[in-house]
Symmetry: C2
Subunit: 446 residues, 2 copies
């Protein structure tokens, strides 16, 4: 690997391989979430995984493949195979490959014993097996399980063994592994890119708009990642062919150019952004859905502390529900149909008024074959928005599978509400009650 | 591989490897769904994948690893890397490994051209690249995309190349690949196991109950797979150490022993089972949720044709919503709290009556830190069921993350409704209107 004079202190590219162990992965019972998690974590710090190998719980296979990966890589990460049952054999396989003896670690045993004592359960001999480690291994504590992680440096290379359960692996990665990798300059000290998250603009339209700016900054790494009607743009300096400060300047120019089409710089979701705007201005929301069937409500109730702004939602699948729960006149439904602009507007108004919220958001759509569409094409979506200033609706067509139509409808609805909240905020800035109170107290104190 | 005298005509175990290609997998942007899909598909037919290798879009790496897999396996399956862009280089790599020339296939070109014509878009030279294939390859048609699959037999081995998009790969697997594999006896002609899906019984309790039966059938392959409060048991004959007929006899004994604890034999979900019961007896359902925030409604609205039985749902996150939308008396909420047996029952009744449904199902729970729990421990769940015969509620405690609590609450609610529907069906069999009409017509015709 040729080293160029890098304007920043990024680490030289280093070969990382990931070995994920477990029969359940190969039998298709569990998705390989470790690849998704660790792949993204490394990418954020400027490292692209060179390969991922998924292997069964078989000692000979594991030993052979770890040996091969160890030979050609600078860093090998293994996940799983550290548990107490007899099919967990990674520890032995790795010790063999590295030519290290296994030693019994009293400290690990003590940590496992105290965990069992806390849970009020007896410790078995199986669990004691987890206290063996290769003699050169450093122990990574596991506050959420019995199997510790292991960190082994040898011959200028690194082998990291992580436990299989995601709720044990992920905190260990964040608290133990990532800081150590950064200290050894194997990954960047911070993210090697800035992520602009946009909504409401197609991928190719976005590329066209950004192209003149990007052309002014040769060396910047550009990656687009399109979701349903939302596109992320990552602008990176991981290659070392451009300075971080220059990319930050480019980000400022992109931000000025795209304006409200960017909903966040960073990792927040569209729903989190909308929630922040609602909370900031102390506004509340209620939602009504038919075709999206509860998924619009879920995006908010999945957020911690949603009860601060989310009043609730109604899923009305049949016209009778729309009439009773949302006070939609029957004649409106029979004249215009359940999937119509008129119904979307009436749903938004009904749910907003019935839940006594500031904003009402509605989706009614033909999500695909099998859905009742009253002659409308599958993929027809109507979104309704009831705001303090009035009620509007939007129509869009999106041919695709039922789940793709629903995902698209939700992004369009969230993005519309976001833009309306921004507009309202700028038109008449709300002073939240607490801030107003604090300002008043401060005045009085003077 | 030693062949024993197998009582059934199962194929001898054969080494299958899967190579999934794509930078987006290694960067953690896309989960490796092909492993989950193909791993499960093969497992159902008695084959356990020996390994899965995830590689970047790099010709040299692909060629080296395909060569290695080809050397040691009987069947190699590749996914991705067949697209028109320049980073798709699998076709060339594979031809090189097999020592085959690439030939231009006029038939493939014609199929691609007619696809573009249908879409009304011009065909580019890039797309024409997809018409090249190794000379010995058989073409697997792709009705959902431009890249055809390729089926290559050489030296008594098999290499199958599949396109990356799941909506292209999955139909091609089902319609082209699986039947061919079965004809060549590389996989079983049908599933090599029977799956019993249970709910309401813990995994270890289930094992204890089944153990005496299983002991009578040595050679049966038993696999448990636990989800939230639902456990699947697979009883298999893939090893050839027991005859299929014997396993079917065991299944009959297990079914008799477990009774209603089994919700289905096969692959249907709990929600599908409940939906079938509702549709069969022409009953309707409405749901009310607080902590589960729309997810209970989603499990039904995700099913095709849900409007036949699903009236709708209310997500009420604040007490005001419960009062207004579900007619719950304010004094009940202030006396017992939002997370209480009384509120769960009132929610089920309110939503059932307001939506004019036969059954009302409710969940109110403390889904975890950040949720408002009025002094109740996180993980406290109340489920309410309003049926024509009365209204009841259930309390359960499940310490876990917010999403685990929600998943558990939904399974408990669905399973309770399922058992009540079975009970009602047996107590007073409903003759659906259409059947009654048909019976009457038949009588009249006599």
């Amino acid at each position: 690997m040729a080293k160029k004079s890098a304007p920043t202190a990024r680490p030289a590219p280093t070969r990382f391989e990931l070995i994920t162990l477990g029969d359940e992965l190969l039998l298709g019972r569990t998705p390989n979430g470790h690849l998704t998690f660790l792949g993204e974590q490394l990418a954020r710090r400027g490292v692209a995984l060179a390969a991922n190998l998924v292997l069964p719980d078989d000692a000979a296979t594991i030993a052979a493949e770890v040996a091969r990966s160890w030979k050609r890589s600078a860093v090998v990460i293994t996940t799983g195979g550290l548990g107490p049952t007899c099919d967990d054999c990674t520890r032995d396989a790795v010790a063999e490959v590295l030519g290290q003896r296994l030693v019994f670690d009293k400290k690990i045993e003590k940590a496992i014993a105290s965990r069992f004592a806390k849970l009020g359960r007896p410790m078995t001999d199986n669990n004691r097996k987890q206290a063996w480690r290769p003699e050169g291994a450093e122990v990574l504590p596991n506050p959420f399980g019995t199997a510790p992680g292991l960190w082994i440096e040898q011959d200028g290379k690194l082998l990291v063994m992580l436990p299989g359960p995601p709720n044990e692996l992920e905190p260990m990665w964040n608290n133990e592994v990532l800081p150590r990798l950064a200290r050894r300059k194997l990954v960047g000290r911070s993210e090697a890119f800035v992520q602009l998250r946009t909504a409401g603009v197609g991928e190719s339209a976005l590329e066209t708009r950004l192209q003149p700016l990007l052309a002014k900054y040769p060396g910047v790494e550009v990656a687009y990642c399109a979701h349903a009607w939302a596109v992320d743009v990552r602008l990176g300096w991981g290659s070392g062919r451009i300075a971080e400060a220059q990319v930050k300047q480019l980000v400022a120019e992109c931000t000025a150019l795209l304006g409200d089409d960017i909903f966040t710089i960073g990792n927040d979701s569209l729903a989190e952004t909308v929630a922040d705007l609602l909370r900031h201005d102390e506004r509340t929301l209620a939602v009504a859905e038919s075709g999206s069937g509860g998924q619009l409500a879920s995006v908010f109730t999945d957020l911690p502390g949603a009860s601060k702004f989310f009043q609730g939602g109604v899923v009305c699948y049949r016209n009778s529900g729309k009439v009773i729960m949302l006070d939609i006149p029957e004649c409106l439904l029979s004249q215009h149909g359940a999937v119509s602009a008129e119904t979307a507007a009436a749903m938004a108004t009904g749910v907003c008024e019935n839940f006594v919220a500031d904003y009402g958001l509605s989706i009614t759509c033909c999500a695909g074959p099998g859905a009742c569409c009253e002659g409308k094409a599958a993929g027809t979506i109507f979104v309704g928005l009831h705001a303090p200033e009035g009620v509007w609706c939007k129509r869009l067509e999106y041919p695709g599978s039922g789940s793709a139509v629903r995902a698209r409808a939700i992004v369009v609805a969230l993005d519309w509400l976001r833009r309306e909240l921004l507009r309202a905020h700028r038109a008449k800035p709300v002073v939240p009650a607490k801030q107003a109170k604090a300002a008043k107290s401060a005045k009085l104190a003077k």
